[in-house]
Symmetry: C2
Subunit: 424 residues, 2 copies
Amino acid sequence: MQLEFFSHLRCRECGRLYPKEAIHVCEWDFGPLEAVYDYEAIRRHISRDRIESRPPTMWRYREFLPLEGEPSVGTQVGFTPLVRADRLAKALGVREVYVKNDTVNYPTLSFKDRVVAVSLSRAREMGFPVVACASTGNLANSVAANAASVGLESYVLIPADLEASKVLGSLVYGSRVIGIRGPYDKVNRLCSEIAGKYRWAFVNVNLRPYYAEGSKTMGFEIVEQLGWRLPAHTVIPMASGSLLTKIAKSYREMIDTELVEKRPFAIHGAQASGCNPITDAFRKDTELVRPVSKPQTIAKSLAIGTPADGYYAIQTIRKSGGAAEDASDPEIVEGIRLLAETTGIFAETAGGVTVACARKLIDSGKIPKDESLVLCITGHGLKTAEVLSGVLDSPRVIDPSLREFDRLVSSDINRAPLPTRSEG
Amino acid sequence: MQLEFFSHLRCRECGRLYPKEAIHVCEWDFGPLEAVYDYEAIRRHISRDRIESRPPTMWRYREFLPLEGEPSVGTQVGFTPLVRADRLAKALGVREVYVKNDTVNYPTLSFKDRVVAVSLSRAREMGFPVVACASTGNLANSVAANAASVGLESYVLIPADLEASKVLGSLVYGSRVIGIRGPYDKVNRLCSEIAGKYRWAFVNVNLRPYYAEGSKTMGFEIVEQLGWRLPAHTVIPMASGSLLTKIAKSYREMIDTELVEKRPFAIHGAQASGCNPITDAFRKDTELVRPVSKPQTIAKSLAIGTPADGYYAIQTIRKSGGAAEDASDPEIVEGIRLLAETTGIFAETAGGVTVACARKLIDSGKIPKDESLVLCITGHGLKTAEVLSGVLDSPRVIDPSLREFDRLVSSDINRAPLPTRSEG
């Protein structure tokens, strides 16, 4: 069976072709390199039945991923639930909402397991002895865990002020965790320098063309799980902007290979107000993304002041008829609570951003109330639990006595019924 | 299509039949009630192909679950990865290890989502307006989340001294969380009293016969994911002992309905040394489980001093040719680290217990080195993260400078290579 439909890397700007190596920018114009596939061959090779007959992982879309052989890392990642969320739809005042739930992605509870599965598999194909990344937390967790699972040595570089759970969630795997003083952009710049000097696979630097393609699987799964249908609206959190551009790419690839019928799909972007370079440029109707030098937001996983794919994200949003929004810290917390109370899904701050921005897009009419939308929820709430401390009521504590319990319940009955953020 | 193969409840002791109501003990001898199925009808109805054609959730084993209609809560729970763990096998000195990874179970990262999916679906069939539970944490998270997902009001009762993440992971869903002063057994007793007075569905009290059956799905999945083969050895953590008895039951049911070929399977139980009533009775060669009145262990999710199914767990272990072990707090932490460093799976304390006990069972020859085993890992490590504080090295912190990085890496190179707990 033909496995490899992936032939080259190509510059997004000038179209020059490059061999499948550990490079990520064009030598001529510094444009980003992207994987090139033979879509006509994929179209002939693939079908819905074929995909559905495969194991429930992201690798059922193997043909669209830039590996030469079979994946060897993260072979069970993906195919997370798409959850129909009627109570959330009601709260948001919109016809239909689905939640793509990567809070339960395997193994490290975020969508980053997708990009890491591809990039570490590719790193092994290329024979790299050490893998590494610059990360706002989730990527670090995933590189550390997936490297451990196959015995690869790993270094993860993170801003020194990251959430405790995200630091712990890298250390526990035995990865070498290095905190860098300063914001993420300084971490990223340092990693570019290191990648230039050491022969290491930096998944989101020199392996970025391979890495980024992994995000497409979130989009493929959404379409399949909707019954092979494109969603009218998709709301996606933006850090570098890469996830958003790749989900849009996945939709286009499914159209091009005739896996799904063509119809309009609007792609909406969500950022935190304290680090909103892409949303800001969208609002100002420019493609010039102005860096945010000092991000100030509880959504640390989205706090990238110089988003590598910001320009492409804006283009994708505009061309698709979507919009960009941002959310303040209190709105983010409110978004986390609304999602949890109506769907039972506990998201990290980035998920709060997505929910809060979706609400604003609906309220402002950018997502019509009689349409259907998908929210991309990318990481688990236990990773950023500290943002809820002091926000939720503490448990009431009683002695193990029925009388004390009766008293507590009767005082409850005088309270309002189950409060829902949105309705309360 | 016939959906319901479940006809009655039956006393495990005297065999008396009862109707399918919210009752859990026999009126005559106080024996526990269990669901009764028509296995002959299931055998005729079901096949491997039929199961494999269904969505990848626990509900692909619908015929073996005690509902009257279709499930309405937790419809996407289960079918978590079974991971072949060669590096862990090497570290443990045994031929082959598989990890059944319920740390990524949907939605609340533990196997409890299985039992809650069944019991809340049953509670809705029976028309209960309020659902509740007595919990050591994971069950509380799951009842709170799954109740929220369908708008059911919920009360969860927990020991007042539970881990912060487990408390937060119930509060966030808007559940009413009540801390009870004292150990779990006091919480449980109070819940029995409350269930006698209020018309509420206490999933693990008056709905226990329905609830407990959900655990079988972990066993069904293991067998299917092994390629329709029974594992020679399964190591299972024990709190009440229910999970262990139900996994054994699932294996027997698959034999009885001809889904899998009969072969010997040993069932091994794992407890924390600080609360080991079942292991202690096993060692003393008695079936008399002596209560532990003051559990002292970091594995709080297993800290049940009076295990409801302890007697049956011992019988199951003995009859199957298995054994019971226990692990100290330092061994538990070591088990968490070994699992994380060799498989990329971050387990809560109960998982550390399972790994540590497996190691002891292998070292003592109770699991032969040339055989194959499955470890049941039941909950995610972020839920009990505090046990690692002060255990793991802190990240090294540097300025964003290549020179500082070079210095750090060269000092690293003088260190030993990637340390692995087991090999180090």
